[in-house]
């Protein structure tokens, strides 16, 4: 072990060493760090686009950008945040934490792991480059519905192929997680002893492998419709534009859970730590996660209630969607029951986790409202939908990622972050998030359409409030950047068990975690949760 470490420090000196370490790495911690840093960068790129959107919507009328560029911004904001920020952040967390949590020396397929990451920057840059090509970037919304998406400029094939590469990257990452969890667990780490973050990621990886290829198939059909004369999505040839919507949402709805299940796992790690109680209902959490994953495959057309479907379809997808509230309710109940009579403290990760539970639940409730087909006829494509999915994605997925970063930063860097800045970051984020998104419920119910750069004057006041919240939320995230950089550069030394109530294997190794951990398999005698 010591010999290896010395050998490495020699190997990694100088520019060649730097390249060898970060370009050729097979180390799950290095790759996890790369994923997390890249997703942080993309979070700010996508965030800058959101700032532009909110600036344009600050007042009615056209002020800041032209409508066509506005449409590109809403499309790219979604694509960058989903494929560039949230998904890679979760993969980064999985890379760092899954081997540590199950007592594995590394991921199962370390070289493929490297490739999964190193496809990501190339594909992300290819995606971003579309904005600068003649005819501009994609502007028909991230769902890429034909025939609108087929009318974009030169960037069309660049868009399609960049999504293909992102998909390949995700699939390889997911295969790696599954192989790691199924094959690399330390002796004694039985499936039902695994931490919930590992469980949720195992199920997420299954979803990824099941649906990313379907998206690849759908966008391939778009490509051949555009360039090779096929008519999958054209009624003139017997095809149907709605077919694309079915294919897209067969991917798109599980994709939603791909972005929230790991978040559930993170909450299930953090809440017991700071409530100083074991997680309530461990096995029901596992089964609830699996149920959500199963249901995610049979609810896709609730995104298409207004696209024209037979009544039986409307009813089926309505009831199936409502069913998801049951396992999700189980989870929320379990988190609350875990906190019940716990010796709770509210460090930054816990603040974000508790905020996450409450705000995600609001997003879940508006989701049940949207699931009601006749009501959805009114809500569809309004700001109510925008408010709904930002509550689940920002205060659900993004908050959980932020919580996870605060929770595990001491393990990654060996330093404690600045708690008071962290708490300030939380309170600013949570206040501005609600100022930003809550009024959008009102706007939507009052009839404001999504994906428009201008609106009737009756919507002016709440839009201004929302934009102010947006700017505040955006600026607050600079605190997050500050905390991370400060923590990477130094700070109070973190102990191996950085949090008093933390259980689990990752807290058994020193902070920072050595470059190689568990060269010999640890023996697990009790459950880590």
């Amino acid at each position: 072990m010591t010999a290896t470490t010395e050998h490495e420090s020699e190997e990694y000196s100088g520019l060649r060493g730097f390249a060898a370490r970060w370009l050729f790495t097979t180390n799950h911690k290095d790759i996890g760090t790369l994923y997390l840093l890249w997703s942080l960068l993309m979070f700010f790129v996508g965030g800058a686009m959101a700032m532009l959107i909110r600036a344009e919507l600050f007042q009615p009328g056209m002020q800041v950008v032209d409508p066509y560029f506005y449409n590109q911004m809403i499309t790219m904001h979604a694509l960058v945040m989903i494929f560039g920020a949230v998904m890679p952040a979760f993969v980064g967390l999985a890379n760092w934490m899954v081997p540590l949590m199950i007592g594995a020396p590394d991921m199962a397929l370390p070289r493929m792991n490297n490739w999964s990451f190193w496809l990501l920057p190339f594909a992300s840059l290819m995606l971003l480059s579309t904005v600068f090509l003649p005819g501009g970037g994609p502007s028909g919304g991230w769902t890429l519905y034909p025939p609108l998406s087929l009318q974009m400029g030169d960037a069309f094939p660049f868009l399609i192929f960049s999504i293909h590469i992102l998909g390949i990257s995700s699939i390889m990452g997911a295969i790696n997680v599954i192989a790691t969890v199924l094959n690399m667990r330390a002796p004694g780490m039985s499936l039902m002893r695994m931490p919930l973050f590992v469980w949720t990621w195992l199920i997420t990886a299954y979803l990824l492998i099941a649906v990313m290829p379907v998206l690849a198939g759908g966008i391939t059909m778009l490509l051949t419709d555009q360039y090779f004369g096929t008519t999958f999505f054209s009624a003139a040839g017997g095809g149907d534009p709605v077919l694309f919507q079915h294919i897209f949402w067969f991917f798109g709805h599980p994709e939603v859970y791909i972005m929230i299940l790991p978040a559930f796992g993170i909450l299930s790690e953090i809440i017991p730590t700071f409530a100083r109680k074991p997680l309530f209902g461990y096995s029901s959490m596992v089964y609830a996660t699996a149920s959500i994953a199963f249901l995610s495959f049979i609810v896709w057309a609730h995104h298409m209630f207004t696209a024209g479907m037979p009544l039986a379809g409307e009813l089926f997808f309505m009831y199936a969607t409502m069913l998801i509230a049951v396992p999700t309710g189980v989870k929320v109940f379990n988190w609350v029951a875990t906190m019940w009579r716990g010796a709770m403290t509210f460090e930054t990760p816990m603040l974000f986790a508790v905020g996450n539970v409450i705000l995600f639940t609001i997003g879940g409730f508006s989701g049940v409202m949207l699931a009601i087909a006749p009501a959805d006829f009114q809500y569809h494509d309004t700001y109510f939908v925008v408010a709904h999915f930002h509550y689940v994605l920002v205060s659900g997925a993004v908050f959980s990622i932020i919580a996870a970063v605060y929770y595990w930063l001491p393990k990654w860097t060996g330093h404690m972050y600045n708690e008071s800045v962290g708490k300030t970051h939380f309170w600013l984020s949570v206040i501005f998030l609600n100022v930003l998104f809550f009024p959008q419920h009102f706007l939507g119910l009052a009839g404001m359409n999504r994906r428009i750069p201008d609106y009737a004057v009756q919507f002016a006041d709440w839009n201004m409030v929302s934009s102010l919240g947006g700017f505040g939320f955006g600026v607050s995230q600079l605190l997050f950047l500050y905390v991370i950089i400060r923590c990477m550069r130094g700070g109070k030394r973190a102990e191996a068990r950085a949090w008093e109530g933390a259980k689990g294997l990752e807290w058994e190794v020193p902070s920072p975690a050595p470059h190689h951990t568990f060269d010999t398999p640890p023996r697990i005698e009790t459950a880590g949760h």
Partner: protein, 286 residues
Amino acid sequence: MSEASGGYYVPHGSHWPIIGSIGLTTMLVGVSGYLQGADWGMWASLIGALVLLYMVFGWFTDVIKEGVQGYYNNQVDASFRWGMIWFIFSEVMFFGAFFGALLYARTLSIPWLSGADVATNQVLWDGVSLGWPTAGPSQRAEEFTPMGPWPLPTINTLILLTSGVTLTWAHHALKENRRLALIGFMWATVALGTVFIGFQAYEYYEAWTHLNLKLSTGMYGSTFFMLTGFHGLHVVIGTIMLLVIALRCMWGHFTPDGHFGFEGVAWYWHFVDVVWLGLYVFVYIL
């Protein structure tokens, strides 16, 4: 670092992934440029494809070398197995998208256009009635002859099924250490795969020149060519993989109880086989 210490094996760093990223991106940027009529498009895609090929060749060479030198313990072997299984599952889902499109067109969109949904029929093409196969209701749709199951697709079905059998015989020979039979059956499998590709190419030629059946022949042409095309591509890849495995059998890379390379390729070949059976039923017969 690359040594197995304490029972675990973590491979050393590799430059192949980053070369693969550069190759794949260059190739797809090139194809994108080509599709938009840029002069550099074809060259960029060719260069990218060569880089990608170089990566595939180099990466597999490294892995084969390490495998032959005995670096891979049982745990690594199991990781490879899980990886291959889930890769094949992702492929199944990819084909699922195209089968789903076929199913949707035949059971929903075409009947709707033909009047099962009265409004769709009246608003879009009043009075049109379409069966299957169809090139769609458009005036521009040309006459074409559909591709029936007889004779070529049926012969191809028999060829693929036979290749599955010869491959299994080869596997048994490998496990029983009968080298001559192993190598013979492997080459027989490669030959069957190659004949399949040849027949499929001939079928495409026939379709294009004599049956007026093209990619642009409406929903029928779209699903026919995309399904059989992606399948054909997989057969080509599978045959190349079988070829490499046949050579590796001759070089003596496999032992009766250590031959994941062989088994992974065999799984892939059986997957290609099963997809074909789906095609035979849903594209050619029904």
